[in-house]
């Protein structure tokens, strides 16, 4: 098990290193371009060269990469071109807001989709299964920006009970969190439900479930004691990988509701060519994605005795 964890950690570090090289090459290989982005287009050649000299841009590219990487590891991401303050000062609070939004969504998605998935998979082909399956296809077919519009039309325009934007300008407010979280929930729960259903349906066809039913155990006991334990292994992985999706989802949702979070920051930074902010956001996004993937892998191995020490 330990060897497995160490190997996964190694893969993770290697992935992060390659991603950082790609990102660095994509955004910083052209140092003249960097100077224009940082100093603005209306600067003289001389000013730009002075800035490049002062910031060590005339060193060979691999030295530049290593010094950049070194700064990154200790959390020095450089100054945001747009906000004129260190990137970290903006990034960490924004990441925390997104964390709250993501937690709020996950707190509903996980129980809801597990319950619906188990109910549907318990009796494959029943009316309840049909309804839940079609319902989950329909909700995953509505993209987040579409459900954002649907939900705001209903709750803001017709019913007028929720605020249409969630900028939280007067401090944190739970009411403003409802719509963005609802959009994420609506899009995400369908997929987890379908995966749970498939896993449950598969377990229900196994011999040990048939044995349990045939030896006369009450149906409830069969489900609770025998089926659930095995059926919930796969959804665990799916839920962990869902965090990767959530990072994509928050870009749309935060843009739609003007929620000041990580996704909106990344989009803003990209649109404004805020170089160091893009780099920091992208690395954080990939880091979160890779680490959740690793937890999913390790957890799956731990939960499933058949593939332990693989």
């Amino acid at each position: 098990m330990l060897v497995f964890i160490v190997r996964r950690l190694g893969t993770m570090v290697l992935t992060m290193v390659v991603v950082s090289i790609l990102l660095f090459l994509l955004l910083e290989i052209n140092s003249a371009g960097v100077a224009i982005k940082v100093l603005g287009p209306y600067t003289s050649e001389e000013q730009r060269n002075l800035w490049l000299e002062a910031n060590g841009y005339f060193r060979p590219i691999y030295i530049r990469y290593f010094s950049w990487l070194g700064n990154f590891i200790v959390g020095d991401f450089g100054d945001s071109i747009r906000f004129k303050v260190p990137v970290g000062e903006i990034l960490w609070p924004r990441l925390a807001s997104t964390g709250i939004l993501g937690l709020a969504a996950m707190a509903v998605v996980i129980p809801l989709s597990l319950i619906l998935g188990v109910l549907a998979g318990m009796r494959e082909g029943s009316t309840l299964d049909r309804v839940i399956s079609v319902g989950s296809i329909v909700t995953t077919s509505i993209p987040e920006f579409a459900s954002a519009v649907f939900l705001s039309t209903i709750f803001v325009f017709y019913l007028d009970i929720l605020p249409g934007t969630s900028s939280m300008s007067d401090g944190f407010s739970v009411v403003q969190l409802i719509l963005p979280a609802m959009v994420l929930i609506l899009y995400d729960f369908g997929y987890v439900t379908r995966m749970t259903r498939a896993s449950m349906a598969e377990v229900m066809t196994t011999h040990y479930i048939r044995t349990a039913v045939l030896k006369g155990l009450p149906y409830k006991t069969v489900i609770m004691k025998h089926a659930l334990r095995n059926a919930l292994i796969a959804p665990f992985t799916v839920i962990m990988l869902q965090i990767n999706w959530l990072l994509s989802g928050v870009i749309v949702v935060e843009f739609a509701f003007a929620y000041k979070g990580f996704g909106a920051l990344l989009l803003e930074a990209s649109l404004n060519q805020d170089l160091f902010m893009i780099e920091a956001c992208a690395m954080v996004a990939v880091f979160v994605a890779v680490i959740t993937q690793m937890i999913a892998d390790i957890g799956y191995t731990y939960l499933n005795p058949r593939i332990r020490f693989a």
């Binding site: 993209p143 994509s248 990209s270 990939v286």
Partner: protein, 277 residues
């Protein structure tokens, strides 16, 4: 698999999906005939659905903030989606399939290197990748194709690789090897056709995702440039007015959702009938 394409008639869900897709294909083909107004003409701003225009023609779905007929724009916008999404998906397959076949059939170094590259691209949250690529390269039709190909090819690679790993041990592959056929001939003629079942289902799902992607990029203001109608772009342009004039945003939203739903239902139906036999 062609048998199960015909069998789709037995799946109600699949038939509903197919009907939705064919409806939009029909609309896109006959857009010039069906659309009551030219899509970019500014006629009467802020008309509500059902209001009559200056010459007595009815704006069935109303007009947008600068007076363009929403129904006509949705009808013409279907062309853009139905050309770009399949084209982008096709490009992604054109890159993903050869790589997947090579990795799955040859294994060894080829597999290790290609899988590593694929895993790295897949470790990016998809939309983060799109936003960075499009914002760096600029929003244009070609760049959107490049971004979609770059981000989707690794997923296709993984599926094809898995299928090739399984199929390479079949007797007909050994037979072809004994006949002395070249590796690429074996991959394209022996392995690929036998992997088509899962690939067709995947293509349907993927088309749905690509439509979402193109819509999302339009919605974020990174889509195809105006003025030609683009569903995602229409939603973005009018969403600030959605609380007072919801008709401007809600109809493009229904259009794009119904098309995605069509592809997802068709994929589900295809999977259902292909599992049956």
């Amino acid at each position: 698999m062609f048998k199960s394409l015909a069998l789709i008639r037995e799946s109600i869900v699949g038939m509903v999906g197919l009907a939705l897709i064919l409806f939009w294909v029909f609309v896109a083909v006959f857009a010039d005939v069906i659309a009551p107004f030219p899509p970019n003409a500014t006629i009467m701003p802020m008309a509500l659905p059902g209001m009559e225009g200056p010459d007595g023609a009815v704006f069935w779905l109303g007009t947008d903030h600068i007076g363009r007929d929403i129904l006509s724009r949705i009808i013409h916008g279907s062309r853009r989606v139905l050309i770009f999404a399949p084209l982008a998906t096709f490009c992604a397959y054109a890159v993903g399939i050869p790589m997947g076949l090579a990795a799955g059939y040859r294994r060894g170094m080829t597999d290790d290197v290609l899988s590593f590259i694929g895993n790295i691209i897949l470790s990016f949250p998809v939309l983060v990748l799109y936003v960075i690529i499009i914002a760096t390269l600029g929003a244009s039709a070609i760049n959107i194709l490049v971004a979609v190909t770059f981000a989707s090819a690794p997923g296709i690679f993984r599926i094809v690789r898995g299928l090739a790993l399984d199929l390479r041990n079949r007797e007909y592959v050994f037979a072809a090897e004994t006949r002395g056929e070249s590796p690429w001939r074996i991959m394209m003629i022996e392995i690929l056709p036998n992997a088509r079942g899962p690939l067709i289902v995947d293509a349907c799902l993927r088309l749905g995702y690509v439509i979402i992607t193109i819509g999302v990029l339009g919605f974020l203001g990174l889509g195809l440039p105006p003025p030609d109608p683009d569903w995602g772009g229409m939603i973005n342009e009018t969403r600030s007015m959605a609380t007072s004039f919801p008709h401007m945003t809600i109809f493009p939203v229904i259009a794009i959702s119904s098309l995605i739903l069509g592809f997802n239902l068709l994929a589900d139906g295809l999977r259902e009938v292909s599992l049956r036999d």
